[in-house]
């Protein structure tokens, strides 16, 4: 079971969904705080929802306020980076670039892609955490930390 979980995680890394920061967060977990990463990721999805909404609204304006968009995206990129959301972060970088050069279509296109990655990651980590929680109690007994 533990191997399955490890494989699941490895696959998320191999496919570029997560990066080293996720591992860094996992290393902050202990018996007293066994679900720290899940808490942070949950917080991320809850908090970033409002940012997504703000960006969406800002993208409906005409002309686009690139400065505002870049600022919003900077915040979103920061949070995404903090949880190790590699693909999402990459879309954020792309979006910021389009803002810098004032490319409206680029921004809108990238944002659609970003939302896809964001949603996909959410599903994948939810499965991961669910599985981790299931095998959690067993793992604690066997784990030699």
């Amino acid at each position: 079971m533990q191997r399955q979980l490890a494989n699941m995680k490895q696959s998320l890394f191999d496919q570029g969904y997560l990066d080293e920061q996720f591992i860094q967060l996992e290393e902050l977990q202990d018996d007293a705080n066994p679900n720290f990463v899940e808490e942070v990721v949950t917080l991320y999805y809850r908090d970033s929802a409002r940012l997504i909404q703000s960006i969406e609204q800002a993208l409906e304006k005409s002309p686009l306020d690139f400065s505002k968009l870049e600022c919003l995206m900077h915040q979103f990129k920061g949070s995404s980076s903090s949880i190790g959301a590699k693909r999402v972060k990459s879309e954020c970088t792309q979006f910021k670039e389009y803002c810098r050069v004032g490319n409206s279509d680029g921004c809108k296109r990238t944002f659609q892609q970003l939302k896809k990655e964001y949603a996909t990651l959410k599903k994948k980590v939810e499965v991961y955490f669910q599985f981790a929680r299931q095998i959690g109690p067993v793992e604690k007994a066997c784990r030699s930390k």
Binding site: Q24, L28, A32, L43, D47, H74, Q75, G78, S79, S82
Partner: protein, 203 residues
């Protein structure tokens, strides 16, 4: 680092706990830095803005949340990019206050902009960390602070001069990376003690 079962796994030093004031507008980053600091055996107060930080510190001389001896802040770690008051502006206010300027301030930023680093170090920042901040950064910072704390007690609470920063940074740099500079700014000024070599290769 092996983390024990008991909460933070910190051994009681007998002395007061190292109290860090963390400032970041991101709730996610506050949660992470809080955890990093707790694991490193620090007492943490996390606030969401520079103005809240100043309120907490009682910079305006009015009713402060600090009963100064009880809740003395040993270190301030702040994000650079924040709405309202940036980390740099907060740094300036703290260094400009006779009451607070001896408190070391560390800046965190997701952007590797050397001019920004230089500006902060020149204004008296203790260090400049790249986000996402890692456990090794915090532990190194804490060790450095705890080591330097005794020195500060001896010489009195004088404002940390660049020379002081240089000699202290050289100590830690010698230990970690004696030959390779951690940044371009390190050649001209003092090396931010926690700059990681991979910094130069990052995006």
């Amino acid at each position: 680092m092996a983390v024990e079962d008991v909460g933070s796994g910190c051994s009681s030093s007998g002395d007061q706990e190292f109290h860090v004031l963390a400032v970041d507008d991101s709730i996610i980053d506050r949660k992470v830095i809080e955890r990093l600091l707790k694991i490193s055996c620090c007492k943490v107060t996390a606030v969401e803005s520079g103005s809240r930080a100043l309120q907490y510190l009682g910079i305006d001389g009015e009713r402060s949340s600090l009963g100064f001896d009880d809740l003395k802040v040993n270190l301030i770690i702040t994000d650079y990019s924040m709405p309202g008051m940036t980390g740099y502006e907060l740094l300036k206010k703290i260094k400009g206050s006779t009451k607070l300027r001896q408190i070391p301030v560390v800046i965190m930023s997701s952007e590797n902009i050397l001019a920004r680093v230089d500006r902060c170090m020149e204004e008296g920042a203790e260090d400049f960390l790249m986000k996402p901040v890692q456990l090794s950064d915090v532990e190194r910072l804490r060790d450095f602070m705890l080591r330097g704390g005794e020195e500060r007690e001896v010489v009195g609470h004088k404002r940390k001069t660049r020379d002081d920063s240089c000699s202290s940074s050289v100590l830690s740099c010698d230990r970690d990376h004696p030959l390779s500079p951690r940044s371009v700014s390190a050649m001209a000024h003092c090396k931010p003690l926690s700059k990681r070599p991979r910094l130069l290769a990052t995006d």
